[in-house]
């Protein structure tokens, strides 16, 4: 059991991961210099979805999404949905891992083998996961506290920005801006971990507040990064930068250190660690409802599978395909489905209470 207060860190750190390395480009392609509006919109959307999620969970008191599925849809169909959700979590895990490996290979170690990075990261995750829930939340806490100093580094590129690049506001079609917001899915998802973590929270009446704080922090960070990026890069430059955030870091210079992006890329390990641990944990919570498996068996089997998969996806195009596919499915699963689920849960509740009254 954890304090609701820690939800802030959990929500925030699962949202921020590898996506922030290069999300500017994807949105920019759709929304041009109004990309920051897209970020703002999707940020607001996360708040709305979080409200629905919390309402759904509140109906059930202390049950997680997997339990809710089983209750609403019955054993069979519910478990099918659970399975989809587990696959979703596993894909998220895999996607984060594979993208990070690629960043390390492109920026720092072009010749370091994929299997090596994959294996070492998985070992770290296994070590953290076997420590239990307390350790996982601890990692996300320390990840936030120890990595927040990276944000002020944005001051360095700020010297080279021209705020004029943001004008004129709202020049692009609202549909393009919305499309841009949708393409942000891959970067901003992660708060759905709330669905699984909810039963583990001690003071449930504080949940709302801290979830929203977490989401707000994420939105602010993404917003500041995109604003700086748009003002710092010229349009075509941004279109061509795969990892614009890292390019931003490359301008950071200290008297004792240059080429800051090398450090940033390696340091990012700490930022993706909570991502990996929490998605793994979410997948585990679902799996124990489907099959009888203990945590150690699960984490080893899971890791071996992911390890194999990470070797099979090699090129940039393949990785992009995985990201796009994940992003598309993620959008419906995270931004549409919770509203549906809420309506169903309310209906189910009304139905059962009426039945009880009759009975």
């Amino acid at each position: 059991m954890i304090n609701a207060f820690l939800l802030f860190f959990v929500i925030h750190t699962t949202q921020i991961g590898v996506g922030i390395h290069g999300f500017q480009r994807v949105i920019y392609q759709e929304a041009k210099h109004d990309a920051w509006i897209s970020v703002l919109l999707i940020g607001i959307a996360t708040h709305i979805i979080a409200i629905f999620m919390i309402k759904t969970l509140e109906i059930y008191g202390s049950n997680d999404l997997y339990g809710i599925h089983q209750d609403i849809f019955g054993k069979w169909f519910g478990n099918f949905l659970n399975f989809i959700y587990i696959v979703y979590c596993s894909t998220a895990f895999f996607s984060v891992l594979r993208n990070y490996i690629e960043v390390v290979q492109t920026w720092v170690f072009p010749n370091l083998e994929t299997w090596f990075i994959s294996a070492t990261l998985l070992l770290l995750v296994i070590y953290a996961f076997t420590g239990g829930f307390r350790v996982i939340v601890g990692i996300s806490f320390f990840s936030f506290v120890l990595a927040i100093w990276l944000l002020p580094m944005l001051v360095f590129p700020l010297q080279f920005t021209t705020a004029r690049s943001l004008l004129p506001v709202m020049e692009n079609d609202i549909m393009d801006i919305l499309k841009g917001a949708q393409s942000m899915t891959f970067t901003i998802v992660g708060f759905e971990i709330l669905n699984v973590i909810y039963p583990f929270i001690k003071d449930k009446n504080n949940v709302k507040r801290h979830v929203h704080y977490g989401l707000l922090a994420t939105t602010i960070i993404y917003l500041s990064v995109i604003l700086v990026s748009i003002a710092y890069f010229s349009p075509d430059q941004l279109n061509k930068s795969i990892w614009a955030t890292l390019s931003l870091f490359s301008i950071v210079r200290f008297p004792f250190i240059e080429r800051f992006e090398y450090i940033a890329v390696c340091f990012w390990m700490l930022i993706i660690l909570p991502n990996l641990c929490l998605y793994l944990w979410a997948a585990y919570r679902g799996s124990i409802r489907l099959v009888k498996v203990n945590s150690t068996q699960f984490v080893w089997i899971f890791s071996i599978v992911v390890f194999m998969l990470s070797l099979s996806v090699e090129t940039r195009t393949e990785i992009n395909a995985v990201n796009n596919y994940f992003s598309k499915v993620g959008f419906y699963l995270i931004f549409v489905y919770p509203i549906l689920l809420y309506l169903l849960a309310v209906m189910k509740k009304k139905y059962t209470t009426r039945k009880e009254r009759k009975g």
């Binding site: 954890i2 304090n3 207060f5 820690l6 390390v104 720092v108 170690f109 370091l112 990075i117 070492t120 770290l124 070590y127 953290a128 420590g131 307390r134 350790v135 601890g138 990692i139 806490f141 320390f142 506290v145 120890l146 210079r253 200290f254 008297p255 004792f256 250190i257 240059e258 080429r259 800051f260 090398y262 450090i263 390696c266 340091f267 390990m269 700490l270 660690l273």
Partner: protein, 514 residues
């Protein structure tokens, strides 16, 4: 994890052992009692003690026999008090003898085992012919050195007295600091062979009862052969004895020990060891010193920050050097690049070998200094440091920049107030150097994350090791890497789970007292 297994097995076995012992003791009750005649009594004693050369048997008057261990009893008390007393009076029963003796610890017992054992604690056995009971008069000599300043934890401002090897003098030190009937002191005998006395301290009403029970259980569950030092005991009762990080503090400062007790911690002192155990102890508290309380708060905060950054410096400086020179020459600014590459030009080894070599030399110097007598040790340090350092650079085995870095990180590691933790910090550096030498910053980050996860996983007597940072307790941050003025730190650390959280009722702060 080792601990867990250890506990589990002991729990499983415990009931059966108890049952056996009970049965045994019932059936042997007759055999265990002293014979009443003097002659048989003597024989029994000799049988049970294997008749050692320091066993003294004296017949004072025809019916009184005195036995004791020559090396353990206080000669003066024996000759000037006890013997004259025994000669002067005639005693009818052991009970009357007991009541007339003017010695603090006197008891009557008829159990052979227990009585013989107590002889080894400096008790004189007085046997009256015709009784199966003996009188146990404890007149122990205390073999102890005089109280001296603590050697490993020196501090500039504050008390200059340390624990010594005698339990009773240590106890008296603590009692003098805390004059409070709530200070509890429990005794255990640990070690099948050594029968070492272990004293367990806590303050009732402050220390968490659950923790007291856990620690009591852990100590009394110990089924070990011998116990010679408190450090060994600490490892046995640790939460995770496989971790290199100590989870209990070993201190030789009575003021620090008492400060811990007053904050709701539990203390253990082992007879014959000058180090006392204090637990639960969070990771960060290993870098705090008692002296911080004696200094003004901004200075204390500065020193704590200094010490804490020294830890990071000490662990990561050499690995960063290795990583930067092996893989990431890009990050070195040009003004630094020239001196770096020039100093490296003559060195025939890759940076990782160079760094390991130099770190090893420093460790050798430190170890040699620790093993040798103090005066020689200092000389070795200076000679070794200067001669080897200069010669190594001149011979072109290492670069002089690395010498600075290694010396700096060694220096930084010595700022840690706890010697045990300082050692860990020095040792942890080696795997990190290897990681840095193999995979540069990526390797360092792997090591960093691993250590972080490891620390989060640890606990000290069930309370989280990373407290007060995780789980976050902001109130406790006031006295963590910084120290706020005393009126702000009127609460006890929450991670200790004290029964009484407030040290005192805080008064409104009034900076200018009239």
């Amino acid at each position: 994890m080792f601990k867990k297994r250890f506990n589990r097995s002991s729990k499983r076995e415990k009931p059966s052992i108890d049952a056996n012992e009970n049965k045994k003791s019932e059936s042997n009750q007759k055999e265990n009692v002293f014979p009443s005649s003097s002659k048989d009594y003597l024989q029994t004693i000799k049988d049970h003690t294997n008749n050692p050369s320091d066993l003294v048997v004296k017949t004072i008057s025809p019916n009184i026999t005195v036995t004791y261990m020559n090396s353990l009893v206080d000669d003066r008390t024996l000759k000037e008090q006890l013997i004259p007393e025994l000669i002067r009076h005639k005693f009818e029963t052991p009970e009357s003898l007991k009541s007339s003796l003017f010695i603090p610890e006197v008891d009557v017992d008829d159990q052979i085992n227990h009585s013989v054992l107590s002889m080894y604690n400096g008790t004189v056995l007085i046997h009256l012919d015709g009784f199966s009971q003996v009188v146990l008069a404890k007149i122990t000599t205390t073999v102890s050195r005089a109280l001296a300043a603590p050697e490993n934890e020196s501090q500039v401002i504050g008390a200059q007295v340390g624990f010594n090897e005698s339990l009773s003098s240590n106890e008296s030190l603590i009692r003098r600091y805390i004059k409070n009937p709530e200070l509890c002191n429990e005794r255990f005998n640990v070690g099948k062979q050594t029968n070492t006395t272990v004293a367990f301290f806590y303050i009732k009403g402050i220390a968490s009862e659950q923790m007291v029970n856990t620690l009591r259980q852990r100590i009394s569950d110990l089924k070990i052969d011998s116990l010679l030092d408190s450090a060994v005991l600490a490892e046995y009762i640790d939460d995770n004895s496989l971790s290199p990080f100590p989870q209990m503090l070993l201190t030789e400062r009575p003021d620090r020990f008492c400060d811990g007790l007053l904050n709701g911690k539990l203390g253990v002192i082992v007879d014959g060891s000058s180090m006392a155990i204090l637990c639960p102890h969070a990771f960060i508290e290993f870098f705090q010193s008692r002296e911080d309380q004696n200094l003004r708060w901004p200075i204390a905060s500065f020193l704590r920050l200094l010490r804490f950054s020294a830890v990071f410096l000490s662990i990561y400086l050499t690995p960063l050097y290795v990583a930067a020179l092996t893989f990431h020459y890009e990050i070195i600014p040009q003004s630094l690049l020239v001196p770096l590459s020039e100093s490296r030009a003559l060195v025939p080894f890759p940076p990782i070998i160079e760094a390991l070599l130099l770190e090893l030399i420093i460790e050798l110097l430190r170890e040699a200094g620790a093993r040798l007598p103090t005066k020689v040790g200092q000389t070795i340090g200076i000679v070794g440091g200067i001669v080897i350092g200069t010669a190594a650079v001149q011979a072109g085995i290492t670069s002089n920049i690395l010498i600075i870095i290694v010396a700096l990180s060694a220096l930084a590691s010595f700022t840690t107030p706890s010697y045990m933790m300082g050692n860990v910090i020095r040792v942890v550096r080696f795997p990190l150097i290897l990681l840095a030498g193999f995979w540069g910053f990526y390797g360092i980050m792997l090591g960093f994350c691993f250590i972080l996860i490891h620390l989060i996983r640890q606990s000290s007597l069930g309370s989280p090791y990373t407290a007060p940072f995780y789980p976050p307790r902001f109130m406790d941050w006031r006295d963590s890497i910084i120290r706020l003025p005393l009126p702000f730190t009127y609460k006890r650390q929450k991670s200790v789970r004290p029964q009484n959280e407030e040290k005192y009722q805080p008064e409104p702060i009034n900076p200018e007292k009239s």
